[in-house]
Symmetry: C2
């Protein structure tokens, strides 16, 4: 247990303030849970109205307790809460779990009280969990503390569970207990007026007994802290998040539940992926993933061997594999031949290997040994046949033999049944670290999570971009626009900002600079002419862009026409010439999210993409490999590959541009929004239109 | 029970041929199951080696049985199977369930035997289930027959379960029993050498005790029969299908498992939707759907009210609703006010209605009454709080009160817990026809299935197309090409086919017809010129199309260039002129699937769509409303709506064209493939390029 959280999570002495003998009182329930689940430390009930509760001496106030207290569990009326917290601070109690509700979640008066509470704990330097929470649990045998009103107390294990919600927290605890999942720590965060999920992650980082951190969240306390914590912790531990409020309906509900602001879920998704955090989408999926993550071995790739004694289940498993991006490779002729040598004629050997109902323990062992040579992981389906030739344990033992003999590759099993016959099979394998599921789809999902963990761990250090940005040059352009009171940058100012950060811009000249001839000489026709006016955002729709100008006289006409528009619309601005660049049209963008900060956007340009809303997001900073994944993740990505005679686009420089846009957005907070649309990639790559809005 | 299947599924006397006292013998297991589960009819074991089994007289052969037998269960060695079937036929037994394996699934000799078996049952007019199956079950109290080697025997109810797989069949039976789902009939089809799923659907159509037909299939015996059966049965009953082999990996496994041919899953999906059959994608989902379908009430729309005493679960439920296309409408100010009048300050009233943990039975009743006014269905989440103010049954009773008082709208409940406390809550509601799930995501999925059933039932009769096709005109063109030995039709022949079926074609003229001037006069420039040669499939890539021809002299040049290409490549063909049509580019297509027949395809044209593979399928015949759904289902559909200043495309004629292409494909089987790419829709709609391949 890390030092600064150890007196909170592994206390030697706890006070229960608001304890009561009355059945149904929350303080009373907590006291009884502390006693019932065999807390190893000392308990001090506090309640001025009682001298004794459940045979234990009860103190009138926390000041009366003669011994030092590590943790106070406070379950008093809302009106008394802050005074009690102050009392605790005065006697030097460093940790409080405040169960009491009626704060921020209950209206303006509660919100006022919560502010006062925050001030109070800050003054005394108290670690506060809550308010409005159900408490904490530490089921490690050396502590055995259920300082909550949960009826459930999971067996100890290497999972720490941090839940923003109390009721869902207890639901998870019930099923952790039922599934026999080892969960040593449970913390219900409640309103997070003191400690947040980040403080707990930080504190648990160097706890050698915790391998998996599971978070149920409805909002993020501070996403950037979470990300840097996850990047640090993720090297040794696995972080799993169930984030509720994914959809508009859910987010609205979450916002009214927690008072937190909603962020588009695609951004949350991108953010969690960038942070190396595994996301689950439902309660059931969380159970599947947590069971899978108990497994010590992580697959190196996504090739799955499926062995079964029930053909239909093999097919459903293969279907599920493809759905989750896992491969079920057809085995080589050699492997198939080896399998045929001991399996009956009716068996299928291609993968899934359907060994038919007569398959015995030795068949499982041999088939597993042979199949593992061509896969990164295996799914073993053993459905107890009507007539058991040998006990189910024997099948488990032989599976384990095959598992132990090879280089470590994960195996997941499935039984299609929950009868007594499968019980020993399931127990034997689970004990040996092979997760067993009832249904094939869940087992495949488990393999998928293991694969995801592997992929997350395989991510190397963020690659460096050797380009040295010229922040001063960029900042100068921004300040120039700001000084002029403009809401956005001119093209040339935008070009300065982008150039300062190594993002290429189309060649251009302003007509009023008098260098048209040189420009034509250098780039030739056709050209494009456009009005560059900071107030003008939708140039195309306003007729302020003329493209494909074929010759000098057309150019004069075009300039005349644009001057006409400027005059007519009373636009202050200049006329810009650019060569017509050819290539694929891309879009790069940035918007500032109030919670996540700069969010980068990438997409392929053109009307169809606009209609399809086919874009990828990334939260700054975007590492190079993350930027590359953004680019590859859009549905229209095949258009960037070699397509209809056009050569494939080089992804590397595009990744660099996304990375640099992120850096630029972080380093120049005055920039509110960036839109490079179109950004053309052909023989050269360049931003053709630049919109940069500033505060 | 329908008459022609009643002696099979509700027999008065059964013979078990191959019965044996030997433990572990299949025939013995079946005999014991028949006795153990209390079969109401007479049982006649048959085995020449025994005089008595389990205290029952055993006959040496089926000829020795003195009484008439409705059904013979045959579990003999493969070598004896056909002889036994013949014996049964000779003594006039009309129904056989052939358990014996080793037929088609086991190699060439087995396949030969299966052909012989088919011939034999056809000769005697026997209803055959199997071979290679685990048997049948009828759990209705008046029959109570477990004529299978399944260890499980679900309670009677209105579900009939027809499974191609035996092992998955037994898995389902185990969980049906465990869940208390009422399943009166189970048939394991096995190799389907006799009866198929279609025969059973047909036979069960007028069985008033069956409301839901659940099929597990790895392949379709005959999809078109299934479709017409489903269209007939679907008016009164609900058909649910779990079709394995959805993905490439799964289909490969299914093909090797059942020897059946694989069809692209998108086509299967379209086909099931067109047939009004509900598809589930996993075993778990089948359980959720079957539990939901026990519910008698179907929602009229997709607006869901969510009531909860646990905020987090409400958010997860709202997330799940949006994922499945259900709406969680924000309640009106009036409703919110009414809810506020009796709920505590901390409650959320917008929907989800979070009544917080203190909510009592009366709160549930009142909130349900109020909320149902603004929704088509409700999800009620009741998580037993730590301190129960009233028993959970009371909450159930009050939910039922609210449920009964209103017009019939479905309610689904969820408990987030499986403790003893929720047991009576769950029992009371289930009894009254309200399905109860543990987790909110499953409960929402249940509402989704109920909604889907409602949508399926709401489909009106196929709308008529008033156009009278001229089959003769189309057929003439096809026969002309056929007589010329051409693999595909010329443009003018294709135009004849399409025109015969009311599908518009771009105006055109052949250069060698000498009517160029008239054509130019009528349509003006720009024009397109292309080589029309039946062997030339990819015109664009071969330079055989010249577009945007601006004037007469360019036209001469274009014609000269195309003549050059024809000469150079030795192409036999003619040069075609067309006006340049403007509008949205679409693609219509048809390919013949070996199992499903003509499959229609619709997509939006252009390179991006090609890269995205964004197309919709339909199996002919495609009714008009189904064609419209195809068009609306493509991701790029927003491009057909009013977009960037272009008016919305009229969908109705496009639906007609899909419908007519289907009709044409059904009526002219010589046509192998159709590709109308592009088909332009602007001021007019017309096929601009026509490829029609023939046999």
């Amino acid at each position: 247990m890390p030092r600064h959280l150890s007196s909170l999570l592994s206390p030697h002495a706890v006070a229960v303030i608001g304890a009561s003998p009355r059945p149904g009182s929350v303080g009373g329930e907590i006291l009884r849970n502390i006693l019932r689940f065999g807390y190893r430390g000392a308990v001090y009930p506090v309640n001025p109205n009682h001298h004794e509760i459940d045979g234990i001496h009860c103190y009138a106030s926390v000041q009366d307790i003669p011994d030092p207290i590590d943790l106070a569990i406070v379950a008093v009326k809302r009106e008394q809460a802050i005074e009690v917290v102050r009392d605790c601070g005065e006697v030097g109690i460093a940790n409080i779990v405040l169960i009491t509700a009626g704060f921020k979640e209950s209206g303006p008066e509660g919100a006022r009280l919560e502010t006062e509470l925050r001030d109070t704990v800050a003054r005394y330097g108290i670690n506060l969990i809550g308010p409005n929470c159900m408490g904490i649990i530490n089921s490690s045998p050396s502590v055995s503390l259920n300082a909550s009103f949960s009826r459930f107390f999971p067996k100890p294990g290497d999972i720490a569970f941090i839940s923003q919600s109390g009721s869902l927290g207890e639901t998870f605890l019930e099923f952790f207990e039922r599934m026999g999942l080892g969960v040593s720590l449970f913390v219900n965060l409640g309103n997070r007026a003191g400690l947040t999920e980040n403080d707990l992650l930080d504190g648990l980082d160097d706890d050698p007994n915790i391998r998996t951190l599971f978070l149920y969240l409805e909002s993020f306390a501070d996403p950037h802290t979470l990300r840097s914590l996850a990047e640090r912790i993720g090297q040794g531990k696995r972080i799993l998040v169930l984030k509720a409020g994914r959809t508009r309906a859910g987010a609205a509900a979450a916002a009214s539940h927690t008072g937190a602001l909603a962020t588009p879920d695609a951004v949350v998704d991108a953010f969690l992926k960038q942070s190396g955090i595994i996301r689950v989408l439902s309660i059931e999926e969380a159970f599947v993933a947590l069971r899978a993550l108990e497994h010590p071995t992580i697959p190196k790739g996504n090739k799955i061997a499926i062995l079964t004694n029930a053909g239909g289940a093999g097919i459903l498993a293969a279907d599920a594999c493809e759905r989750w991006g896992l491969k079920v490779p057809r085995f080589s002729a050699e492997t198939r031949e080896t399998l045929s040598s001991f399996l009956p004629e009716e068996a299928s050997t291609g993968n899934p290997v359907d060994m038919i109902a007569t398959a015995g323990a030795r068949d499982y062992e041999r088939a597993l040994r042979v199949s593992m040579g061509e896969a990164d992981a295996a799914l073993v389906i053993f459905r107890p046949p009507v007539v058991l030739a040998e006990p189910a344990e024997a099948v488990a033992e032989h599976i384990l033999k095959a598992a132990s003999s090879k280089e470590k590759k994960p195996i997941v099993a499935c039984t299609l049944s929950e009868t007594d016959i499968v019980q020993p099979f399931q127990e034997r394998l689970t004990q040996a670290g092979i997760p067993v599921y009832t249904m094939p789809e869940a087992a495949v999902r488990a393999l998928y999570f293991l694969y995801r963990v592997g992929k997350g761990q395989a991510v190397s250090e963020p690659e460096a971009d050797s380009f040295q940005p010229d922040r001063g040059r960029a900042l100068h352009a921004v300040e120039e626009a700001k000084a002029a009171g403009s809401p956005s940058l001119s093209f040339s100012q935008g070009a300065e900002v982008l150039s300062g950060y190594g993002i290429p811009v189309s060649p251009y000249t302003y007509v009023d600079e008098g260098k048209i001839d040189e420009f034509i000489q250098k780039f030739g026709f056709p050209l494009a002419a456009k009005i560059d006016s900071p107030g003008l955002f939708h140039r195309f729709e306003r007729g302020a862009v003329i493209t494909d100008i074929p010759d000098r006289s057309s150019l004069e006409n075009a300039i005349g026409a644009l001057e006409g528009i400027m005059e007519e619309e009373g636009l202050k601005g200049r006329i810009l010439l650019q060569p017509m660049l050819s290539g694929r049209e891309l879009i790069f963008g940035m918007e500032r999210d109030s919670l996540f900060g700069p969010v980068l956007m990438f997409g392929i340009g053109g009307t169809l993409v606009e209609a399809l809303q086919d874009v990828a997001f990334g939260v700054a900073p975007v590492h190079l490999d993350q930027a590359e994944e953004m680019i590859r993740s859009i549905r229209a990505f095949p258009l960037l590959e070699s397509f209809r005679g056009q050569p494939a686009v080089d992804i590397r420089p595009l990744s660099l541009f996304i990375h640099r846009l992120g850096r630029l957005s972080l380093e120049i907070p005055e920039i509110k929004e960036i839109d490079l649309n179109p950004f053309i990639v052909g023989e050269t790559a360049a931003a053709v239109d630049i919109l940069i809005r500033i505060e």
